[in-house]
């Protein structure tokens, strides 16, 4: 097996780590929460960082009219299928294909990941802005518009008494590593050919 194909093989396998490790994490810090509230986002689940965190995030958020974090979303079905299919495709390329296919897989994964992130952003935006009109507390921005509570897509943001952190977790790093390795496989293959 060629060196580039071996690298491609690893590239196709790495994203499967998403079935074990969380993709993303949102953590909320506040003075009353010496142990912060946190939610780990898996490709098929929202999970408590510590027991009952999601229940308590919901309880906090109901004051400002945010919807409950759902038990399940359609993405939980789509994402695992997407990961399995793209990994299978990657494996087929690794065994049968040449470096040009590796580039194709790289582009495919980039497009899908970007779509996933955009989808995540849309959900977050809806979660943070689509507020119950009968919310207990209503806040406005200095310009008079209704204040949203969207957590950051990536990074840290202050929202009222909370500091919200949103960062990728181990699963996302494996995905990123897989995608990067596909690019390396392409470059290696191109050089040797």
């Amino acid at each position: 097996m060629k060196k580039s194909n071996i690298i491609m093989l690893l590239a196709a396998i790495f994203p499967l780590a998403l079935f074990v490790f969380p993709l993303w994490n949102i953590t909320l810090e506040a003075p009353q929460y010496p142990i912060p509230l946190g939610m780990n986002i898996y490709i098929n689940d929202f999970a408590d960082a510590n027991p009952y965190d999601i229940k308590n995030i919901n309880l906090m958020n109901h004051y400002v009219g945010m919807k409950y974090i759902p038990d399940a979303i359609p993405e939980f079905k789509i994402f695992p299928i997407g990961i399995i299919i793209t990994s299978i495709i990657g494996l087929i390329f690794a065994f049968k294909g040449n470096y040009k296919w590796f580039l194709a897989w790289f582009i495919l994964m980039m497009v899908l990941s970007a779509t996933g992130l955009y989808d995540f952003y849309l959900w977050e935006h809806d979660y943070g802005h689509n507020l119950d009109p009968k919310a207990i507390m209503k806040f406005t921005n200095p310009d008079g518009s209704v204040m949203g509570f969207q957590p950051p897509l990536f990074g840290t943001r202050h929202i009222l008494n909370f500091t919200a952190h949103s960062y990728p977790r181990l699963g996302a790093y494996f995905l990123g590593l897989g995608i990067t390795m596909a690019l390396i496989a392409y470059l290696t293959g191109k050089k040797t050919s």
């Binding site: 142990i35 027991p51 009952y52 229940k55 308590n56 309880l59 004051y63 207990i136 507390m137």
Partner: protein, 653 residues
């Protein structure tokens, strides 16, 4: 002029000398006081090094303090009703205070002792005795709640209790008063020779700490004052001090102080256990309550038991001996090695220390000095290890630092005296303010004391704090005993009478402390685990409301169809699953206390409305930004009305 200059220079020098001297003094003073302050200072947000469980004496409760700061964390209700926590008021905990005499809302809690494994404190449970209506309670140190109370039959003034053996095989409870056993109608004057003193051995289930009375040893009619288990080499023995070996039944202060020596009773419980396991002992009809609280149902059950196994000491040869000990000994304390048994003869000039090794030797060589009701008395000189000569007045209790030193309290001379085991020399003494009773070194009743601090628990406070009328605060004092000399660090007020205490490093307990009760584990028969479970059900004139509470509402919060003459049970479940989010509830006109309900818990109060109207209830524990909105109404109609039960939440009419 020169002369004047010289003189004034001289004065100046003297003045300077005095000033500098004064400066030096005030500096050293402030350095001293700041070091004591620093030693007890625990910075905001930081934790104490030790837990101290200080009994409330006649308050009937157990308080939880931090050491060295002396900060109070919790008052655990044990034997007395507590309206703040609904202990003994809500339907779930009322059975905990049930006895063979019916419901008893109070007792006198004296001697907490922490469970042990292999002679060392294990931090699982605290056991504590009720003096007045004899009972032993178990406090679970994961929830800091009383989870068991067992009544002790054939006992009165349950004082030589509740000390645990080195693997918590037994919790031991001895009677203070001797009484007719079984109780019967007889003349008090016939006490002598007819009354008996019972020493009860409560077997502990190693899995859950639960107690059962394994046997009661029926001893001669003395008063059994205090006790401690043997440990190490003396494991398997238990030692009890006695007074009133005169068997007086009146004016004891005189009549029970006549004998030159009373006894320490040495009980070989392993021998008696073997005898009992082989079918020995006599079953006696009696009546006592055994009350158990479940963290799953959040409810207590009370079971009445009708029989107890009694043992006549004469039927187990070699199991019981009497060690003569001067002058009405009070505390009975065993050193960490198990070799020395200190009899704190409260009317004696000297402190008597017996040797376990010598005792065993005297028994083997039958060095007896007569008998009392058939129980062999050992010769005083043959069991004596030594005496601390003239250490103070009125010795009461001794604890040990694990470094070969003992610390004894003296009630009359109001001091703690440090002395050395083996040489019996007095090393140091420090006054207490005032009239100290017990003292406590963390890990005191174990093979491994943590000899850093001693807490002295005083009987009198007088002028030590701001006055509060005739009844002033009760108080304990903390001494640093890490050096050669003791150093008084802190006075701190306590609840009730700080009778005795048990302490241990916080690390043994802290990590096991529960944060909440899991809602999914709640097995209360009337729990409503979600809003969908809420309902109001009528059974004749009994109405059961299954209600939930969560920030910041009750569900339901509007109830109609209640009638005057109904007995309304509010079963309320706290749906929170977050640390430190209890909710309270109180109903206008309810003849009971509030409820204070922890996350995941269900509690019940009863309301019997007597007046027609619309009556509010509300959350009593400031729970959230919308705590003041957490409220509801109940409509009460005349008894003859035919308004159907209805309930709702959030409906806009």
């Amino acid at each position: 002029m020169k002369q004047i200059l010289k003189i004034s220079t001289g004065f100046l020098m003297i003045a300077l000398a005095f000033t500098s001297c004064n400066n030096g003094e005030s500096k050293s003073n402030s350095a001293l006081s700041s070091s004591a302050a620093e030693k007890v200072y625990v910075a905001p947000g930081e934790h104490d090094e030790f837990y101290a469980f200080i009994s409330g004496g006649f308050s009937g409760q157990l308080s939880v303090y931090g050491l060295p700061s002396g900060r109070l964390f919790k008052v655990i209700p044990v034997f007395s009703q507590d309206a703040e926590k609904a202990w003994g008021y809500n339907e779930e905990t009322k059975p905990m205070l049930n006895t063979s005499h019916g419901f008893i809302p109070w007792d006198d809690a004296h001697h907490p002792d922490i469970s042990q494994t292999a002679g060392e404190i294990d931090g699982r449970y605290v056991y504590i005795n009720a003096n007045n209506t004899p009972r032993i309670a178990k406090i679970d140190l994961t929830t800091f709640e009383t989870t068991e109370i067992i009544e002790i039959p054939n006992s009165a003034g349950n004082h030589s209790s509740s000390f645990v053996t080195e693997n918590t095989e037994y919790v031991v409870a001895g009677t203070r008063f001797s009484v007719p056993i079984p109780q019967r109608d007889m003349s008090i004057k016939d006490y002598k020779g007819n009354f008996k003193g019972s020493l009860s051995f409560l077997k502990v289930n190693p899995d859950n700490g639960e107690m059962t009375i394994k046997f009661q040893l029926l001893m001669p009619g003395f008063n059994y004052d205090l006790s401690h288990p043997g440990r190490g080499k003396s494991h398997g023995w238990f030692f009890f001090t006695t007074y009133n070996t005169e068997e007086a039944n009146s004016l004891l202060e005189v009549n029970a102080s006549q004998n030159d020596k009373d006894f320490i009773a040495a009980i070989n419980w392993k021998k008696i256990e073997e005898y009992v396991n082989n079918g020995g002992g006599t079953k006696m009809p009696t009546k006592y309550a055994h009350n158990i609280y479940s963290d799953e149902t959040h409810t207590a059950t009370s079971t009445m038991i009708n029989e107890v196994l009694t043992v006549n000491p004469l039927e187990v040869p070699g199991a019981v001996y009497l060690l003569p000990t001067p002058k009405s000994p009070h505390g009975c304390d065993v050193d960490p090695s198990g070799e020395y048994i200190v009899g704190n003869g409260k009317l004696s000039a000297n402190l008597t220390v017996h040797s376990f090794t010598k005792m065993v030797d005297a028994i083997e060589n039958k060095k007896f000095d007569g008998e009392a009701y058939g129980i062999p008395i050992l010769k005083f000189e043959d069991v004596l290890a030594g005496s601390v000569e003239q250490p103070g007045l009125g010795p009461l209790h001794t604890e040990f630092d694990g470094k070969g030193n003992a610390y004894t309290t003296f009630f009359i001379s109001s001091e703690v005296v440090k002395w050395k085991l083996g040489t019996w020399e007095v090393l140091d003494r420090k006054p207490t303010y005032y009239s100290v009773g017990h003292l406590m070194i963390p890990g005191g009743n174990s093979a491994k004391p943590f000899g850093k601090y001693v807490v002295a628990m005083n009987k009198i406070t007088k002028d030590r704090y701001l006055p509060t009328g005739p009844e002033v605060t009760q108080s304990a004092q903390l001494y640093d005993i890490s050096g050669d000399k003791m150093e008084l660090l802190l006075d701190f007020p306590t609840i009730g009478e700080p009778h005795y205490a048990a302490g241990c490093p916080a690390s043994l307990i802290e990590a096991n402390s529960k944060k909440l009760y899991k809602l999914e584990d709640n097995k209360h028969p009337y729990a409503a685990k979600s809003d969908a479970d809420t309902k109001v059900v009528r059974k004749g004139n009994e109405v059961h409301v299954q209600m939930t509470m969560i920030r910041s509402h009750f569900s339901p919060d509007n109830i109609e169809g209640i009638k005057v003459g109904d007995k309304v049970y509010f079963h309320i479940t706290n749906l929170e699953q977050d640390y430190d989010v209890p909710h309270g509830v109180a109903m206008i006109g309810a003849n009971t206390s509030e409820l204070l309900i922890m996350p995941g818990q269900t509690e019940t109060f009863v309301w019997e409305p007597k007046q027609v109207g619309v009556w509010p209830f509300y959350c009593t524990d400031f729970c959230s930004a919308l705590h003041q909105e957490m409220q509801g109404y109940v409509r009460v109609s005349p008894s003859a009305s035919n308004i159907e039960l209805s309930w709702s939440l959030g409906e806009v009419f």
